[in-house]
């Protein structure tokens, strides 16, 4: 039931926590940009997920997720899209600044 959530904690939220702990001063300047990226990713990703699930391109075993579905997409998948678009944009900002 909690497998996907635990996976998100390990592979998504832990790196986000570490990045913000180390680079909070830089990253906090881009809060609005991160919100834009996340909202755009959701608008795009959820439609994609919805179609993929409906057509059977991939599936989520019921016993590994909480069972909360929003627009026919599991809650964890929404969190996946939010988390990974956030990590990628965080990393991009850090690298851009470091390689300047």
């Amino acid at each position: 039931m909690f497998e996907y959530l635990i996976w998100l904690i390990v592979f998504a939220w832990s790196p986000i926590f570490v990045l913000w702990l180390k680079f909070w001063k830089l990253l906090s300047k881009f809060k609005r940009d991160f919100i834009f990226i996340v909202v755009a990713s959701l608008a795009f990703g959820v439609v994609w997920d919805f179609i993929a699930i409906e057509t059977g391109a991939w599936f989520f075993p019921q016993e590994k997720i909480l069972g909360v579905w929003i627009l026919n997409v599991p809650l964890e998948e929404w969190l996946f899209i939010i988390s990974f678009s956030f990590i990628i944009s965080n990393l991009t900002i850090i690298l851009k600044r470091r390689l300047k």
Binding site: W48, I88, L91, K96
Partner: protein, 104 residues
């Protein structure tokens, strides 16, 4: 055979037009930041392979074998690898567009 391409077709339909549009529209910005984008993509591939393999091993998500090409790197289907590359590229590039607009 066409059924095996379903996953790949979805991915390409959802990502390629956006990516091509952004690159054509912001060519200069894209090429001047190719180093940053490449590093982020590289990290996305390496991290994606580890995280995706773990997810498939645990059984968080699964693919119907008849809906994928069948080529895998470890447990990760080739479709997921291409997904990691394309999505990372788009998100990273959009972030850079917003970064440049800030003029920092």
């Amino acid at each position: 055979m066409i059924e095996n391409l379903i996953n790949m077709i979805f991915m390409l339909i959802f990502t390629c037009p956006v990516l091509v549009y952004l690159i054509v529209k912001k060519q200069k910005l894209f090429w001047s930041n190719i180093k940053v984008i490449s590093i982020v993509i590289f990290l996305g591939i390496v991290y994606g392979m580890i995280a995706d393999s773990a997810a498939i091993h645990i059984g968080i998500w699964s693919f119907y074998e008849n809906k994928i090409l069948g080529y895998k790197i470890g447990l990760m289907p080739i479709e997921d690898l291409i997904f990691a590359i394309l999505i990372t590229c788009i998100v990273s590039f959009v972030t850079l567009i917003l970064y440049e607009r800030k003029g920092l």
